[in-house]
Symmetry: C2
Amino acid sequence: MELVFLWPGKTRNQHLRALQEEYLAKLKPLIPTKIIETPGARGLDEKLKKVIIEKETQGLEKYLKDGYIICLYDKGKEIDSEGLARMIEDKALFSGQKIIFVVGGFLGLSPGVLEKAHLKISLSRMTFSHELARVVLLEQVYRAMNIIKGYAYPK
Amino acid sequence: MELVFLWPGKTRNQHLRALQEEYLAKLKPLIPTKIIETPGARGLDEKLKKVIIEKETQGLEKYLKDGYIICLYDKGKEIDSEGLARMIEDKALFSGQKIIFVVGGFLGLSPGVLEKAHLKISLSRMTFSHELARVVLLEQVYRAMNIIKGYAYPK
């Protein structure tokens, strides 16, 4: 039973990065949790989209060998906070699986990574920047853990 | 033509606060923008929900006398980034109105404030903390302004 947050490249915005660490620290006492940031494809021209995505995919796939894989995907299923809580409860707490949440870099995830997903979810009909999406996802999973444990969500 | 972001109480999380300032600084060169933080009801026990909401409502209503009012509301209309851009373009750029985005405190907005809304929108089916919702809204409006101006959204 473990939660893994997986994405290519370190989160660059310092404040989003600080929030990422803050939610990670809050999650850890509730459930074993880690963030894995695989090598990003920095320094490459954005026009080399295919090369960037391939490089990022190689990095991600190493960590996609077991566990219940959930990809953030703009055309994925929209779920509410309660639904996310029930899903985490079912997969992690009852079935003891590792849940791997995957968020893409600025070009998104490759079809190869998306194919490995057991579930594709969308946070919103709106498009979030990939770094903000990471923080929103962490906050949602922290909220979900509070729902599962029956805690009042901290203000 | 102006964008106003209005909410009760200062954003307390330092990183979310920093992001708020960051998006405000990015928005200002694109369109006149300000954030108005009215007095919050800090120090009051959460059980005094009615008193808190009333105090917050009084502070907000002073700024709700003109302009096109958009309230963030969990049962509001879900729109996508493109839809938000077209709405801002229509109300602010074409019609020259002031748009006032209102986000509640941790107890949400009062029925009185919601009644004044010309439009109620929801960012997601998921429930975001009110401080995170402020940042997500700012990012979305910044994205919308980039769509309107025809800029590639900065990574």
